[in-house]
Amino acid sequence: MEEKKSQLRAERVKMREQDPLIRKKNYLEVPLGYSEEEAVREAKRCLQCKKPLCVDGCPVNIKIPQFIALIAEGKFAEAAVKIKETNALPAVCGRVCPQEEQCEIKCVLGKKGSSIAIGNLERFAADYERENGKVAVPEMKPSNGKRVAVVGSGPAGLTVAGELTREGFSVTIFEALHLAGGVLVYGIPEFRLPKEIVRKEIAYLEKLGVTIVRNFIVGRTATIDDLFKEEGFHAVFIGSGAGLPVFMNIPGENHIGVYSANEYLTRCNLMKAYKEDSHTPILRGKRVVTVGGGNVAMDSARSALRLGADESIIVYRRSRDEMPARKAEIHHAEEEGIVFNLLCNPVSIGANEKGFVNKIQCIQMELGEPDESGRRRPVPKKDSSFDIACDVVIIAIGNKPNPLIKDTTPDIQITKWGTIQADEKDLRTSKKYVYAGGDIVTGAATVILAMGAGRTAAQTIKKDLLG
């Protein structure tokens, strides 16, 4: 009895992390991964519940207790295979999923002790498989002669491709940029998701037979109708993402040195502007202000530090509790010395005679009545404006769906927010044999939700094309 009680109260095995003062100047990952011993120890804490609540919390219902049991037995590669039955990119999800809001929050151990570190274990299994060259090739069904076009090589598109290629479909992904991965390569920084991992995951898909055509913009190089009529595809999945930056429309937003987070991160991550000998420039501000409170804002502010900023400041109009960013990322940002100016909203941006940003004028806010999102609406405090001196401003207040597909596909129905209308259950759009999922349907959300949509769409496509 005593042993059981102590097991219930035991602390989770902490994952070692890089020291903040060191890591804020490098692009290496912050968490350093579990050793085999640590992983087994943590896996053994799992109670293997008969009715696992964690599985319900997972947007793709990964068989969590089963993969954890395999780790506990030392069968690490098998654990990775188990995860891949439902999640095509565990190395990615183990790093970027907000597990603390999904599976881990449901863990019964969390009530009185600490929940199982499901995310850490997922990451461990995926890394083990990759690092030890034990990536298994799954069972592939024979070719069924049906061709599917996937628009976008982000998490949704990659997942659809992975699922359908195993089912015998001939899949081609069309990617507008020169590298595949979507937000995994341009948005999420190197220090949160090493690009080498994304490259290997994509290479794995190509090994399974997926064709990836880069530098191909669906909507311009070919329209969706062209894909059917001229290229002979039988179905099209749209996973083009939420790639349209939102600006505040305040005075001074077009001064030199004001970036959308998309531009800042694309220069830094995709184009590797963080490298000294990079051909792509980026303004390395000494005092950088990032406006916003989500994961993208945290990524931007932390990237600024690594690009050499002496000070990196977040300006957010609500309070810390309302910040949509992962608690872990807010925590990492705080550890690295990022200054949080909360309950603070920009009013205008100032520049010097040459047109380069030199300050951002803000006003203090206080929380009033709740708005449509259910959070208390921030209201400006009278006579409370003040200036923050800075030389780079990053606007990270959200992203909307990129309109290129909707503008060039007149017969596809869109919502009033510019997202593509897709049935919640099966992801069919108003256009026959055209499906959509991920941010282009939901608006900016998470990698795991996009992957879940990819799975759903793949199942619908299989049903519609094979009967």
Binding site: I22, H178, F216, L244, N249, T266, M271, H279
Partner: protein, 285 residues
């Protein structure tokens, strides 16, 4: 695909490449551009498609050697492949039968002007072309323009050819002589576009310019190419690159073009080894 079929020098700093690109050649319309990378680590740069042949499957670009991207591009040769080419991007020029058109090009801006001139002529317009450069040696595409224009005028800053002066001087002279136009297109260096279009707009001529803001992705995803037109923020890559000249905040656009001048300047100096200045993380026990 992406192989350079033909490489020509049009003037000391200006090159023309014919590149095998069947899909882009088939889809492209006048006014559209491509984004390319000349090197595996290269910068993404936009260049207007100066010409294309869908049946033969090629496109042509004309560029001036200015910074990293164009320098690397100039180093490629016939038979080499351009690593990355994406397109066609941007909204095509709105070509119609306007009546009398005047098309004014400055320097290497004559290259993006050419496909528009061709399309306007092929749509039954009376087309006057004015091309200018600093001196005679820098005039490009004169023969190509002659084929597709009703009247061709040349201006050089140093007077080595044609009118001694700017393209704007040529426009003023034509206007004073009583020449009238229904539609104008002005393409060239930003200050030239600002000055010249201000004149045509003043005379009440509907004028379009093709802007060349700094771009990264070219698909509307980052906002780096934003310009203010009639008080609203527009993206050069998806709303443009052509805009009604009368609404453009020229000063803001010109200022933003200078964002990376220091960076470009540093590139032209010798590389300084910094390897000893790099910090490597040490693991702590």
């Amino acid at each position: 695909m992406n192989t350079i079929i033909k490489k020509e020098r049009l003037s000391e700093q200006v090159l023309r490449y014919r590149i095998r690109s069947p899909k882009i050649a088939a889809k492209r319309k006048a006014g559209q551009f491509i984004i390319l990378r000349a090197d595996e680590d290269g910068e993404r740069i936009p260049l207007t498609i100066a010409n294309a042949n869908p049946s033969e499957g090629w496109i042509e670009i004309i560029f001036q050697i200015a910074g990293h991207g164009t320098k690397d591009l100039a180093a490629l040769n016939e038979g080499s492949k351009v690593p990355d080419i994406a397109g066609p991007l941007g909204r095509p020029t709105h070509i119609a039968k306007y009546g009398r058109c005047i098309c004014i090009g400055g320097g290497v801006g004559v290259a993006p002007l050419f496909p528009i001139v061709k399309a306007l002529k092929e749509s039954d317009n009376d087309v006057t072309v004015v091309i200018g450069a600093r001196s005679e040696k820098l005039i490009i595409l004169e023969e190509d323009m002659k084929l597709f224009s009703n009247h061709l005028h040349i201006a050089t800053d140093d007077g080595s050819r044609g009118t001694h002066g700017f393209v704007s001087d040529v426009f003023n002279t034509l206007w004073d002589k009583g020449e009238r136009y229904d539609f104008a297109v002005v393409i060239g260096p930003p200050v030239m576009m600002k000055v010249t279009s201000t004149l045509t707009v003043k005379q009440g001529i509907k004028t379009f310019v093709s802007l060349n803001p700094i771009m990264i992705d070219g698909t509307g995803m980052c906002g780096g190419c934003r310009v203010t037109v009639f008080g609203e923020t527009k993206f050069g890559c998806v709303d443009g690159p052509e805009f009604d000249a009368s609404g453009i905040d020229w000063d803001e656009m010109i200022r933003r073009l200078g964002a990376y001048r220091d960076f470009e300047h540093n590139y032209t100096h010798t590389h300084q080894c910094k390897i000893l200045e790099q910090e490597t993380p040490r693991s702590k026990k």
